[in-house]
Amino acid sequence: MEPTKQQLLWMYEKMVEIRRYEETMAKVYLEGKLPPRIQKGLAFDIGAGPVPGEMHLAAGQEPVAVGTCVHLSDDDTVVGAHRPHHFAIAKGVPLNEMTAEMFGKVTGLCRGKGGHMHLFHPPTKFSCSGIVGAGLPQACGAALANKKRGTDHVALAFFGEGAANQGAFHEALNLAALWKLPVIFVCEDNNYGISVPKSQSTSVPTNDVRAAAYGMSGVLVENNDPIGVFKAAAEAVRRARSGEGPTLIEVQTDRYLGHFQGDAEVYRDKEEVPKLRKNDPIVRLGDALRKEGALDDEQDAALGAAIDARIKQAFDFARESAYPEEQEALLHVFSE
């Protein structure tokens, strides 16, 4: 299935939105975390500033999110992992509440109790988890619920290539294939499990071949290609919706930033990221759209300005929102 112009434009716009969101977050995250404002002797203070804690950003990995989510509606489930912003944005999670959550504010998606690795937005059926590989079984369960209700809704689990070595991955693939669940497993291969390259963690060069072990279709998308992801996901979603069962897709993608912000990246050559950035998927898709006459500089600038305004609004909303009252910490252990 070839993408329509409208779909390509949506993907392009969402990629720009994700990239600019992540770049904004990278800057805001550093506020208050660097000398001389922190404890003497420290180079960085992870708990300081308006956005404390770990921060895993997805700049460079946009194709995985937009090429899949373009096929989804609010009724389809997405379970993300510890690097979740690109999926949340592509799935339509509201930016204001998502950003406020990362600031720990009471207006956040989770009233400030989740933080950036634990975003929950039931209206778009989006959730994520900070535990590597944990989302795959849960996506199976969402798919099982869809199947039991007789709907054609699907569930997607996104995870890194490091998660493909977790038991949860293998158990979930077997279960999904056994029960012919409407689920799509999307492996984002950014080549690093924190610092360890895939060649040192994984017994096969690409994870798509592991699908065969479970009698499942496996597809490889190379070169961080949004249109390649679009096509692979289109077929996988079609199969899932029509009762033909699960698919495993591995997407070779690029992580432009550290595993988390503040990562000195001693494990990769200084030349690596500049080289990766020369093959930027946003630039490539933008060029392709221009060639087809679907985008010009004026439209591009207007689209960028609108996105910048949306992002500014989200960060302003987060900054201006109140923190939860301390007593809130004692609520929501159980649903009343």
Binding site: K113, I131, P137, C140, A145, L175, S335
Partner: protein, 350 residues
């Protein structure tokens, strides 16, 4: 409940499967999944007869993949279903605990209440039949220690049925622990007190309401599950010695009926907590702390006493196993010893 209630004697296993059956009948969102829950009816008969009645879509056999099916149960619960997932032995939580304590137990909290998890995990606990260290544990205190899970530990068929229906209707994760030695199985000795009169039809028992299963005025014995049955037998022995024991069945440990414990201890002035879980850092210690924190309102006539598994894995050899798990005679002896201890009485005199 109907005015004309048809009572039958049921084993606890029959009561559990009847409760699940009634809820499967009532609510399409309810389904059962787990290892051997279909034709076999559950290794401990908790799902007996359900496959024939409701079919393989509602009573689902799973592969031996606890991480996959516990996670799937959670995913289905988050998507509007009300699954009952059987973890064959509670000892097996080690192979899937991430799904349980990092997700099932935390998603409601981490989502600020927006993503509740209505899910029942049924699981078999306890020893006494020489299944050794990996198939005899109770470890419910481990689940109770982690916030976000309700923990149900019934001692008899009547309670098990009402508590199971309550569990299925609860919007939270519930760990429903049935002790193998009170299920009334045809292949394992059990305590007959656990097989009792159970009404037909639907009824619920609220969580967090302990039951005084034997009234007494000299000493309070607090217990759950099979130990309740043992404590009742011990109380008869104590009666022969002129000691009138009150036995409290907590029925659930999360939520914990603290008031019932304090009221009874206030009455008797003596407390023995008997537990088949490991002694340290668990249920017995929690109750001892509760009493310690309320000493300004209580007058103890003897120090609080814990009788539990003495912080060793459950050994295989029969005499060793029987030694580490509290038995009827051990309970009677420990309770009687509370009357030999004169230290508190001396202090009272001062």
């Amino acid at each position: 409940m109907n005015t004309e209630v048809n009572m039958r004697r049921l084993t606890m296993a029959q009561a559990v499967s009847e409760a699940i059956s009634l809820e499967l009948e009532r609510d399409e969102r309810v389904f059962v999944m787990g290892e051997d829950v279909g034709k076999y009816g559950g290794v401990f008969s908790a799902t007996s007869g359900l496959l024939d009645r409701y079919g393989a879509d509602r009573v689902m056999e799973t592969p031996i993949s606890e991480t996959a099916f516990m996670g799937a149960a959670l995913g289905a619960a988050a998507s509007g279903m009300r699954p009952i997932a059987e973890l064959m032995f509670i000892d097996f939580f080690g192979v899937c605990f991430d799904q349980i304590y990092n997700h099932m137990a935390k998603n409601c909290y981490m989502s600020g209440g927006g993503a509740p998890v209505p899910l029942v995990v049924t699981t078999a606990i306890g020893g006494g039949y020489n299944d050794a260290a990996q198939h005899s544990q109770c470890v419910y205190s481990t689940f109770a220690h982690m916030p976000g899970m309700k923990v149900v530990v019934p001692s008899n068929a009547y309670d098990a049925k009402g508590l199971m229906i309550e569990a299925i209707r609860d919007d939270n994760p519930v760990i429903f622990c049935f002790h193998k030695g009170i299920m009334g199985l045809s292949w394992m000795s059990y305590f007959e007190g656990s097989t009792n009169e159970v009404p037909e039809g639907i009824y619920t028992i609220p969580f967090g309401k302990a039951k005084v299963v034997r009234e007494g005025c000299d000493v309070t014995i607090v217990a759950v599950s099979q130990i309740v049955q043992k404590s009742l037998l011990a109380a008869e022995k104590l009666q022969e010695q002129g000691i009138d024991a009150e036995v409290i069945d907590l029925r659930t440990i999360v939520p914990l009926d603290r008031q019932a414990i304090l009221q009874s201890v206030d009455k008797t002035g003596r407390l023995l907590i008997v537990d088949e879980d490991y002694q340290s850092f668990g249920l017995a210690s929690e109750i001892a702390s509760l009493v310690a924190e309320n000493l300004h309102n209580l007058r103890l006539r003897a120090p609080v006493r814990r009788l539990a598994v003495p912080d060793v894995p459950i050994p295989f050899s029969r005499p060793l196993e029987q030694f580490v798990i509290p038995q009827v005679d051990d309970i009677a002896k420990a309770a009687a010893e509370l009357f030999e201890d004169q230290r508190m009485a001396v202090k009272e005199g001062v």
